[in-house]
């Protein structure tokens, strides 16, 4: 066991899940939300030549995905160090 005690292991996992769910929520909103479910509403807003909903479905969602993963990497590395379960 790498954790000092069981409560710490539980706390680490709970924080991990919370981070995971909040990032997945954003993942869902930018793609399924902005790109599909509310695309008509967003299309009334324009970004230069782009209708916003269309832009999200063809470009914006992808940019958001890349950012989400790197945010996850940074936050998880921090969490690993906080609980002293990082690799050397």
């Amino acid at each position: 066991m790498s954790f000092e005690d069981h409560t710490l292991a539980k706390a680490y996992w709970r924080e991990n899940i919370r981070l995971l769910l909040s990032l997945l929520l954003i993942w869902f909103v930018v793609s399924f939300g902005f790109g599909i479910l509310w695309v008509e509403e967003l299309n009334s807003i324009r970004l230069g030549g782009f209708k916003l909903g269309f832009w999200f479905s063809q470009q914006g969602a992808i940019y958001s995905f890349v950012v989400l993963i790197f945010v996850y990497v940074v936050k998880m590395n921090r969490l690993d160090r906080k609980y002293n379960v990082h690799e050397d």
Partner: protein, 568 residues
């Protein structure tokens, strides 16, 4: 210099590069053959993953599909990238900590069951063969169009090259060749896109050019022009689609989850040294993929405008057949474009209603794009090399999954547990060799249903592996009864739905007959939900996973103490 000679030179040079890398990166042990020695740098792994992932379909077909589908094409753009978020957050780090070679390894060990392992092996092999047949076909098409050799010769040359570096180098050879192939394919994709973006909008960045005004001084936005043109010609506006919202939703989800469940993508995360690197390399992979995937919709829009203008002419009355640009003649020879003069005026006309006289295959848009835009010959040759790089890199990754499934999961872990590392390596090479030959055969004699079975690969990956792996990590108590019944019900449901609408009764494949308006392409999402539901219910009524398995699950949930990926 003729286009053909240039193409031979550029494609030949890229082949020489791949072979040189393969010689340098020969595999000496199963560890190197399966996971490249486990010491690939995350950025290199990201590039290799990107090349592995972006197949002939991404490179050659996707922009063409989007060009014809407009907004609906977003299902591919979001679907084939969004899965990486799931991979990075929910799968890659944990599977890396688990530290084995293959996906069936994880399923078999986590669910302490040879039945589960066997179900996983069969799914992995089926998914990979489905996929690889399409790649070999892509190589054949590029060869036959640009080098004017027949498809058989093209496929044999492609097979020879893949055979050489996959059989010799295993994962190690493949990984470093894929890094080179990524560079070739992304360069080949971006160069014509930048040229065309400047020509049409004056903006050198295609992603921005798509939202810019036309360079003809009219001040109209490109997309507005495209919407107008489309509607005039009897299509729906480019920025709004024809598919129902529910279908777009389900197809996108099936492609995302399918991506995260594809064995040849997952296995890439076993090749890096640390859990931290597995997370990071998913990010790099998606960044490299995004470079192509955000360019694709721009290429699609530019190609659409260009194509309509060169066929219908600046006045929109149609161009006389004798004055047709040379790309139409070139592609007519391959049978991928045809013209039928319905109103006998000797002019071509392209439209979405009864005025239409053109039949245009969607697959040619990327390959013909540089010709349509009158770009120099070396750009056209470069695109050919890029298409081949995309097809080869993906085939190699798939062949490796097939060969490890046979030598490792089937022989070593199942039938012949006593073979030595050296013998296992020999079987792995033998299996790779046999797989190359079968793939080549399927490329030359494609079963008529290749296009249809792609929906299969994603649907099955979504409905089988993804839930089993997720539950294996996030539910400590999930047991073999739950996982196996979940996988079987998900796969059976998905396969039955696809087989019914694609093969048994294709005539009935219309939205009115679909379950809740979900097309066969999107049904994998429902199969996945069914898998989750069945697994959770069954596991409630059967004994929990044994203590030692639960302890193993606990131990993959944090990074510390991850070793190299190993067999035992």
């Amino acid at each position: 210099m003729s286009i053909q000679l240039l193409t031979i030179l550029i494609v030949g040079a890229s082949f020489a590069l791949y072979i040189a890398i393969a010689l340098w990166a020969r595999a000496g042990s199963t560890q190197e053959f399966y996971v490249a020695g486990g010491d690939v740098h995350p950025i290199a792994n990201g590039m290799a993953t990107a090349a592995d992932w972006m197949s002939a379909a991404s490179f050659i077909s996707m922009a063409g599909l989007i060009s014809f589908m407009g907004y609906d094409g977003g299902v591919y753009l979001m679907g084939w990238t969004g899965g990486y978020v799931l991979l990075a957050l929910c799968l890659a780090p944990y599977l890396r900590k688990f530290g084995k070679f293959t996906v069936p390894d994880f399923i078999g060990d986590r669910y302490y069951s040879q039945v589960a392992r066997t179900v996983a092996v069969v799914c992995a092999i089926f998914i990979s063969f489905t996929y690889v047949a399409g790649q070999m076909r892509g190589v054949g098409v590029v060869f036959s169009r640009f080098l004017e050799v027949d498809i058989l010769t093209g496929v044999i040359i492609g097979m020879g090259v893949v055979f050489f570096y996959a059989v010799l180098g295993g994962m190690k050879g493949i990984t470093y060749t894929q890094v080179a192939q990524y560079c070739v394919l992304i360069f080949a994709y971006l160069v014509p896109a930048v040229f065309i973006s400047i020509m049409i909008t004056g903006n050198p960045i295609p992603q921005l050019g798509m939202g810019d005004t036309l360079a003809d001084g009219s001040g109209t936005y490109l997309l507005d022009k495209l919407d107008g043109l489309s509607q005039e010609l009897g299509f729906t506006a480019y920025t709004s689609g024809t598919k129902s919202k529910v279908d777009v939703f389900f197809i996108t989800a099936a492609l995302m989850v399918g991506t995260a469940g594809l064995p040849h993508v997952i296995v890439r995360f076993f090749t890096v040294p640390k859990v931290r690197d597995a997370r990071k390399s998913a990010g790099w992979a998606l960044l490299f993929i995004a470079l192509l995937y955000t360019t694709a919709p721009s290429i699609a829009a530019f190609a659409r405008v260009n194509m309509i203008n060169t066929i219908n002419g600046p006045d929109g009355q149609g161009i006389a057949r004798e004055q047709a640009p040379s790309w139409i003649n070139n592609w007519e020879k391959t049978g991928l474009i045809s013209w039928e003069d319905k109103n006998d005026d000797g002019r071509m006309y392209y439209a979405g209603d009864e005025r239409n006289e053109m039949t245009i295959d969607r697959d040619i848009m990327v390959m013909a794009n540089p010709e349509i835009a009158n770009l120099p010959a070396w750009v056209i040759a470069l695109v050919a090399a890029g298409g081949i790089a995309a097809a080869l890199s993906t085939s190699a990754g798939l062949l490796l999954v097939i060969s490890t499934s046979v030598s490792h999961d089937l022989l070593k872990r199942n039938l012949m547990p006593d073979i030595s590392d050296r013998q296992e390596l020999r079987y792995a090479r033998g299996a790779a060799a046999v797989a190359v030959v079968i793939a080549g055969y399927l490329g030359v004699n494609p079963p008529g249903f290749v296009a249809q079975v792609v929906a299969f690969a994603f649907g099955l990956a979504a409905a089988s592996f993804f839930p089993a792996i997720i539950l294996g990590i996030f539910s400590r108590r999930m047991n073999k009864e739950g996982a196996i019944s979940g996988m079987l019900s998900g796969v059976t449901f998905t396969a039955a739905y696809i087989v019914y609408f694609k093969f048994v009764n294709p005539g009935a494949n219309v939205p009115e007959n679909w379950l809740w308006g979900i097309s066969p392409e999107g049904i994998g999402t429902l199969g996945m939900l069914l898998n989750f539901a069945v697994a959770l219910v069954v596991s409630r009524f059967t004994p929990d996973a044994p203590e030692e398995v639960q302890a193993m699950v606990e131990s993959i949930r944090f990074p510390k103490g991850s070793g190299e990926a190993q067999a035992h």
